[in-house]
């Protein structure tokens, strides 16, 4: 089991003929993801890595029954691409694009809600259900199947931590990179709920960072509704206030969104917070032992 993506996922790649689209289509295909179509306006009839290209998501869905989309479109056009997928009936959209204006995300949010479209990202590495589907740019070789759910705002920090988990024999059900932007699709809470309801996930690792209050919200949810153990790590304890630390959403504004507050919120909810990424497997071991 897993959440959101699995062997039944039928993926359409928007922006398939671009450099990134093409490269990652190859990698995802190699992993075994079922990529049924690509979209690149004006290139219908072509083929990329053996995947048929269509002019529109609508055409792709009609011809192939695609149900999931990944977007490798430049930031200025990403919101439009997300909407196109949503209107064509795609159920889960994964937006890799970085640099999307926040007003664009604000504008499309109600329409996605109306259509019942789930969004992950933008500015995210995607997600992977090891052994079944890779929908994103995550490096497949560090993941392995197992019972740990994983949610992160980061890209390479995700890889660092997952690598530690895999080396310590903690395989993963699904790893989701929700991205570094302030207004995005699914947040921690949305995914925690899904992991709580996934029979194969026994515990969750959560990687947060400064900015916003998604971690605090997650902590509240964990305290009130989650039965499964959660272990966390928060990046940015040494970040200066008021500065955007790479990710558009990683900024301490008006004194709030600090790592300290997030760590405190998790501790109050009974979620141990690692002092460094390497500590996570040990904390997980302890937490799982407690339950027995």
């Amino acid at each position: 089991m897993s959440i959101l993506v699995n062997n039944d996922t039928k993926l359409v790649v928007q922006g398939i003929t671009g450099r990134d689209g093409k490269f990652h289509t190859g990698r995802m295909k190699e992993y075994g993801t079922n990529i049924v179509a690509g979209v690149s306006p004006g290139k219908e009839g072509e083929s990329v890595e053996g995947v048929p290209v269509f002019n529109s998501v609508e055409n792709a869905v009609k011809a192939t029954g695609a149900n999931t989309s990944i977007i490798f479109v430049p930031a200025a056009f990403a919101a439009d691409a997300i909407l196109e997928a949503s209107e064509a009936g795609i159920k889960l959209v994964v937006a890799i694009s970085e640099g999307v204006p926040v007003q664009d995300m604000i504008r499309i949010t109600p329409i996605l809600k109306q259509n019942g479209t789930l969004l992950i990202g933008p500015n995210c590495p995607g997600l992977i259900t090891p052994g079944q589907a890779l929908i994103g740019i995550l490096p497949a070789m560090i993941f392995k199947e197992g019972p740990i759910g994983f949610i992160s705002r980061s890209g390479t920090l995700t890889y660092e931590v997952v690598n530690q988990l895999t080396l310590n024999d903690f395989g993963q059900t699904t790893c989701v990179g929700i991205g570094g932007d302030p207004v995005a699709g699914l947040y921690f809470i949305d995914l925690l709920e899904r992991f709580e309801n996934d029979p194969n996930t026994t515990a969750v690792v959560l990687i947060g960072e400064i900015g916003g209050d998604a971690e605090e919200q997650a902590a509240r949810y964990i305290a009130e509704k989650m039965t499964k153990p959660v272990v966390a790590f928060i990046a940015g304890q040494t970040a200066p206030p008021g500065k955007r630390m790479g990710h558009a959403g990683a900024i301490i504004s008006s004194g709030s969104g600090t790592a300290e507050e997030k760590i405190a919120a998790f501790n109050a909810a009974g979620v141990p917070v690692a002092k460094e990424p390497g500590e996570i497997p040990e904390l997980l071991r302890k937490k799982l032992a407690e339950r027995k």
Partner: protein, 377 residues
Amino acid sequence: MKIHEYQARQIFRSYGIPVPDDVLCYTVSEVENAARELNCMTVVKAQVLAGGRGKAGGVKLARNVEEAINAGKQILGMNIKGLTVEKVLVTKAADIEKEFYVGFVNDRNSKCVTLMASAEGGVEIEEVAKTNPEKIIKYPVNPLTGLLDYQARNIALKLFGDIKQAQKAASILTKLYKLYVETDATLAEINPLILTPEGDVLAIDGKMNFDDNALFRQPKVLAMREPDEEELQEIAAHEKGLSYIKLDGNIGCMVNGAGLAMATMDMIKLYGGSPANFLDIGGSSNPQKVIDAMNILLGDKNVKAVMINIFGGITRCDDVARGLLKALEIIMTDVPIVVRLSGTNAAEGLAILKETGLPTVSSMSEAAKKAIELSKR
């Protein structure tokens, strides 16, 4: 991106929000001319991109030209939160009957542009939010409709009571929302919005921040940017595809990925060292980026050791190693460097670096410890 008060006021004015007349002045002589021209009580306000200007003595009421000149003398050249005041705004002073706070920001939870309004104006809104949150009206605006007239009016009536005043305030709210969305702002604040004894509603201060991700489509906003020295460095790095924030420690870090870069800084501090910077070289492994990154790091004279932390996903470690080799050919430095490579082609990358004699490790914590040790030699 931030702008000065005088620029925010210009934008407000251009959208029809009533703002008292003002003149931007760089010298005491200009302050004198402005005061004479305005011919009334004025306020002389420091124009720096920092909060707490009033508390720092950077905002002074001047009852006549002489007082304006004195205020200008005191404020120009003043240091506020590390910034030197190079210009002041001389504005017509207004009679204040009551002060209000109104502002728009993006709320991550409602995923909407949200109006914040309060009858507690003129003070730090964050304070009010902490001590008296019930005094702040928070209204998420539906992006599909924008801020409708009746919504603006109902909120204004809660603040003003009198319908004529409320209508004036409502008109300001609708205009503020419009300009917020049209300029891709991330903050548009009027603190205070005032009621005069005559029943007028005016904006006597203004603050705006903008979405960096939208600057590509906001040339007029971009033209208003006045970066300080630190920001110029950050902008220059950004143009090279790097994300750089200077800190004041002595261990330079070069990392691929923002989250990992933050975790690297944190780990250095955890082990008793002091990070000199945040530097994300991003996803691609092209050699020029590594060269540019090394230049930036070594341009900081405080740096006593460099920690390179790469977890290659898409980024190939052997590409990074090659880039580093090239960089070291071009840049002559005595600063010790420790390299950590993990992930895609890590073994190949480490092999390439073997001949350089650079200390190489495979774990992040080893790298941090080594860098701290090297910095102390």
